[in-house]
């Protein structure tokens, strides 16, 4: 008797909806709130996409979607155009190239992989800013934003689990 292969779950929009959600989250966290001198963290939400898209399934659409996301970040944050597109694409490229080594491993391995890729993205942004503005960005601020972005790893893991076994032919 031939066992019938289970039909994959239909998940609409594995690229478009997460992208819109990350941009919306970015705008929400731009709200000027300050309590006792502390302000809201400003993580790079699209870093979750750069990691999860590469893990779920490498796609030709992915890099261009990341470029568009990065451009939106630059326009919203007032950064030089192309800065975050470049940083996210460096992380995505690294994830695609090293995908075969890490896919299917446990949470610890995935989290280390995410940490390394986030470091690559921030190093790219740091060097680009330094070359462009002729000023080294303040390291504690960079580390603070890096930590806030690393804290998004559970979101990336959840997104991978959500889409990994699903039918993801549509964007």
């Amino acid at each position: 008797m031939i066992r019938k292969r289970p039909k994959p779950v239909q998940r609409p929009g594995w690229i478009l909806w997460p992208m819109l959600a990350s941009l919306a989250a970015t705008v929400v966290l731009m709200t000027p709130v300050r309590v006792e001198g502390l302000r809201l963290p400003e993580p790079v939400f699209p870093m979750v996409l750069a990691f999860a898209w590469a893990v779920i399934r490498p796609s030709v659409v992915g890099p261009f979607a990341l470029l568009a996301t990065g451009l939106f970040l630059d326009l919203v944050w007032g950064a030089p155009l192309g800065l975050w597109g470049l940083a996210l694409l460096l992380a995505y490229g690294g994830a695609v190239v090293s995908r075969g080594l890490v896919t299917g491993r446990g949470t610890l391995m995935l989290s280390i992989w995410y940490l390394v890729l986030t470091l690559i993205a921030f190093t790219g942004a740091y060097i680009t800013t330094m070359l462009r503005a002729h000023v080294a960005p303040y390291l504690p601020s960079v580390l603070w934003q890096l930590l806030a972005t690393l804290a998004l790893f559970p979101l990336a893991q959840r997104m991978i689990a959500f889409f990994e076994d699903a039918e993801i032919r549509s964007w």
Binding site: T31, P32, P58, L71, W77, G78, A79, P80, G93, S141
Partner: protein
């Protein structure tokens, strides 16, 4: 429609290779954009219209997001005001007593200052009008520090206008749409502000680096600064008016001088946008760099006429070829008839009425 169902359905490529190629192309596109974008050029940036469009779209969203925060803050302040009214009253009375002393001193100093200005015919900056605005969005990362305000070109705001909170300078306007504007904060990595040390009048450049306390660079003079010195805008370059309060000098762990900003003392919610006309924008640079020979005085004019008369009265020597050439000194001493540039220079030197 899925990508693979389209016209490329028969195209056979290793997926990873295709994705890497697409990533490289996207990276190249990002690099081209980075090179093409000249954010520092402010108004002449080729991408400023895109930034302005985003600011226009996000300002209403920011107002909606910011409203609950503001209401909560107002509510907490109202409750605090109710419960701590007595102690607040006592504190304010003590402050009034303190400020009255300062007021008397300020009145006396203003009187002396006005007399000095009149005696010296000193040209001072006229007071700049301002527009009040509210900060609706806040970018505070290490690579960009900016804010979106809810006042724009409709209120007379222009690119380059300085922005102040109730405590001190915040930054300057770098993008304007009819009902919103974007402020480049003093802490942004691309912010450069000429400042002076109030105690020594030493000049420095306040350079943002994405941290809360911008650096002081290019400090001139011997021992020009010490911890706790007050920093003001110097007005050099004409971008900011002179004398706006910026902060106090502090030393970081590595021994470098930094500024603890006054504007960082309280949350930046309501701000003033000074409608300050950049000095460089009001002056024609071509007129400034044009050189005009000053007109001759009466004595010089008489000397010149005498020299010309002598030259014409001298009998020519037919044997000498040099005598056949016209005198060279006379045309050089003739003033160039260029009234427009000299008028522009004169009008600059004239005192403000």
């Amino acid at each position: 429609m899925a990508f693979r169902d389209g016209p490329f359905q028969d195209l056979k490529l290793p997926l990873t290779l295709a994705v890497v190629a697409a990533t490289v192309v996207a990276i190249l596109a990002a690099l081209v954009l980075l090179v093409a974008d000249r954010r520092a050029a402010l108004a002449v940036s080729g991408f400023s219209s895109a930034r302005n469009a985003v600011a226009r779209g996000l300002a209403p969203a920011g107002e909606v997001l910011e409203a609950p925060v503001r209401w909560a803050g107002d509510g907490i302040e109202a409750i605090g005001g109710y419960f701590f009214a007595v102690s607040e009253n006592r504190r304010l009375k003590a402050r009034i007593r303190d400020l009255e002393t300062w007021r008397d001193e300020a009145v006396a100093l203003r009187n002396v200052n006005e007399r000095y200005e009149a005696l010296l015919k000193l040209k001072t900056d006229p007071p700049a009008p301002f527009v009040a605005a509210r900060s609706v969005l806040d970018v505070r990362g290490p690579f960009a520090n900016a804010r979106v305000l809810d006042a724009g070109a409709a209120a007379g705001v222009q690119v380059g206008d300085p922005v102040m909170s109730e405590n001190g300078l915040v930054g300057r306007i770098v993008g304007v749409v009819p009902h919103a504007s974007r402020v480049l904060m003093l802490t942004d990595v691309e912010s450069r502000t000429p400042v002076l040390v109030d105690r020594t009048n030493a000049r420095a450049l306040l350079t943002g680096d994405g941290g809360p306390n911008p650096r002081l660079e290019y400090i001139r003079g011997q021992d020009p600064v010490k911890e706790g010195d007050v920093l003001l805008t110097s007005g050099d370059g004409g971008v900011f008016p002179r004398g706006l309060p910026v902060g106090v000098v502090a030393k970081d762990l590595r021994g470098a001088w930094r500024a603890r900003l006054y504007s960082d003392l309280t949350p930046i919610d309501y701000v003033r946008i000074l409608l300050f006309q950049d000095f460089a924008a009001s002056v024609d640079p071509a007129a400034l760099s044009a050189t005009a020979v000053p007109p001759l005085t009466a004595a010089e004019e008489a000397d010149r006429a005498l020299a010309l008369a002598k030259a014409t009265a001298r009998p020519p020597k037919p044997s000498s070829p040099a005598a056949q050439t016209p005198p060279k000194a006379a045309p050089q001493s003739t003033p160039a008839p260029t009234p427009a540039p000299s008028a522009a220079v004169n009008s600059l030197a004239a005192p403000t009425p």
